[in-house]
């Protein structure tokens, strides 16, 4: 009998796979028997530092390039379907067909957002007809470093839906994956690491929402939050101290599994800033 090699699911910060600095692991509710690194508030702060450092590179590259990199992620996910299906189902009772459908939806979601970056200016920007001799136009730019919290289920599709709109807008992100079934979310890190996504652009944490949410909310170098679930007063209150852009995605389970609803420009819009340029027109 072969003794299986057991894998610990680790965090993904700055393109590396650290265990938590706290030395803690946890056994998730819906992934029984698996050990997962449990991120601390300090891990979150380090992830924000990595995300901030990666911002100039990610937002500075051409939108065409960002799109190609996200498309590469679609290729990686599509070709790793079976392992992702296993990770979605690991330690719980989800059916194989449901898990397969989720991965297929994930690929559809990624391809939607992969094709989006080089259309954002035309969709959300404008040339403005002002009453004077000026060339005036508005462009959209990333808000900066975003914090995101994925829903518990669907663990893979939810993690992608809470991070891809942010990335497509040129932001970098620190994503807290599903608390109850974090394996597929953390496994994304292993695919991101081989998709030419620069280190730090997306950082993955696993752990307890109750421990990490206050830190997300109060961190002064986080420009906005996208949180799966019902509005949380204490998060919003703390976020006001640094005028964060805060949105809650309080969707019914049916919608979380409806990829058509997740392919949505409204998920991008709150996390891009409209910049308007004025220039005189003269000889």
């Amino acid at each position: 009998m072969t003794i299986e090699v057991r894998k610990t699911y680790k965090l993904f910060i700055g393109g590396k796979f650290p265990r938590s600095e706290s030395g803690r692991t946890f056994q998730p509710k819906a992934a029984e028997g698996f050990n997962v690194s449990m991120a601390s508030r300090k891990d979150l702060r380090e992830a924000v530092v990595a995300a901030r450092a990666a911002l100039p590179k990610w937002s500075g590259m051409t939108a065409y390039n960002r799109g190609q990199i996200l498309y590469r992620l679609a290729e990686m996910v599509a070709t790793r379907t079976s392992s992702l299906v296993d990770e979605i189902r690991a330690g719980n009772r989800r059916s194989e067909s449901a898990a397969r459908k989720e991965v297929a939806s994930a690929v559809e979601l990624i391809t939607f957002y992969a094709g989006l970056p080089d259309k954002l200016q035309q969709l959300l920007g404008a040339q403005n007809e002002v009453a004077g001799p000026f060339f005036n136009f508005s462009t959209v730019e990333p808000s900066g470093v975003l914090g995101a919290v994925a829903p518990d289920e669907p663990s893979l599709l939810g993690a992608l839906a809470m991070s891809l709109p942010i990335l497509a807008g040129g932001n970098t992100v620190v994503l807290l994956v599903s608390e109850s079934s974090p394996l597929s979310g953390l496994a994304l890190g292993e695919l991101l690491a081989v998709s030419d996504v620069p280190g730090g652009v997306i950082n993955l944490l696993a752990g307890e929402k109750s421990e990490l949410l206050p830190q997300f909310a109060s961190h002064r170098d986080v420009n906005g939050l996208l949180i799966a679930g019902a509005p949380d007063v204490s998060v919003s209150e703390a976020a006001a101290d640094s005028v964060k852009r805060v949105r809650f995605a309080d969707l019914p389970p049916r919608d979380w599994n409806n990829v058509k609803k997740l392919c949505n420009l409204h998920l991008v819009q709150p996390f891009v800033e409209v910049k308007t340029l004025w220039h005189p027109v003269s000889q």
Binding site: N128, D232, S236, V243, N264, T276
Partner: protein
Amino acid sequence: MGKTSKTRTDDASTPQLKFGERWVYDAAPQSPEVKIRDKYDLFLDGEFTAPRSRKHFDTVNPATTEPLAKIAQAGDADVDAAVAAARHAQENVWGPMSGGDRARYVFRIARLIQERSRELACLETMDGGKPIRESRDVDVPLAAQWFFYHAGWADKLHLAFPGSKVEPKGVIGQIIPWNFPLLMAAWKLAPALACGNTVVLKPAETTSLTALHLAQILQQADLPPGVVNIVTGDGRTGAALVRHPGIDKVAFTGSTTVGKEIQRTLAGSGKDLTLELGGKAAHIVFEDAALDQAVEGVVCGIFFNQGHVCCAGSRLLVQESVHDMFVEKLRRRMERIRVGDPMDKNTDMGAINSKEQLARIEEMVAVGESEGATLHQSSCSLPDRGYWFRPTMFTGVSLSHRIAREEIFGPVLGVLTFRTPEEAVEKANNTGYGLSAGIWTDKGSRILWMAERMRAGVVWNNTFNRFDAASPFGGYKESGFGREGGKQGLLAYMKCHDDPLTQG
């Protein structure tokens, strides 16, 4: 770098014409073509209504400190009544009305503002202290344009966001500041009305008059009762409006401190919020810029409206090679700024809006001196009565100085230097704010390179302080969120049915 700077530094020592007292302007007073009532009540459900408290307070002319009129102090019950009227009008009249009909009302408002423009300009200047030249040529025409532009959107909202089914957000609570009282009312009301919302508007305590005359205009336009309600008062009125459970959204323009407080208050309420807050804009001048034009731009950037402008260019970043010459040009230009009676048509800079604001400016200037920056002030004479402050510039300012970090909201410029474009970017963005920026250079590619890197919502290139209803305005970072003006500004007042997110 060397060639241009060498030939151009001499400029500072060129002889200048000194007229002394030999060429003094005659007074050119604008007659106050406005009838100011002794007392103004609240504008509720289409009628001027006494506040439940029966309390009124004085609004004064900051250029004379004389009371102009008595303004009603709205309390909780008045805010209740305003919200109820707005709700009724939204659900029964304004919301169901066709976009085309709404447009006609809003067009009417635009026209009436134009027709009563002199009255509004005089009133704005008397109540707020800004020069009549500015209220006449900037505030009032722009306010009219804001209504005219947005009127045209009312029947085209389905074209603005194709694929999304849109509807109004409902009843909007709007709180506006004292620096552009009528214009800010227009910025807030016009898009809200065009999108089918109704409004409870709270003007600033010290500058309610033009909003109340605008209420007369709304009556004149036969705008249905309750579509716009105006509650005057101090901060307590604003707080009551923000906390009121009957509103769907708050739109606020004002200080970052109050904006944060509002965001905190609304946490978990399910109400939407847009914020247009403070700024500490960098005004960047490169050595190759048309320097005389840049001087005019920098002067406009910081001394327009006595510097009571959230997007004021309060931090001048001038390239080191031209620093001395540029500062000298600015110093000379500052001497020529005519400070005094705001109703004089030749006045460049009027009165500081209030005693409190004057105290804040004086405090910050004292801080600047104690931090070691060098003070330069115009030697102009100031009127005996009223609230005044000289055009002021600090040189030798560094980024850590409080005068370089905190919004002063007065005619006080801080001058910093840079050597390379990268350093200019670094310094410009080194602030919690992100409302506006200005760039002066003759090199087109550099303008675009710099503009791309400014973390600010409005970037003026070789110009400054330009505004237009078609041009989105609003901030990054702690300067707020949401835009006013243009198609993007409509989003603040419309609900898209396919938007799955809730603002927190």
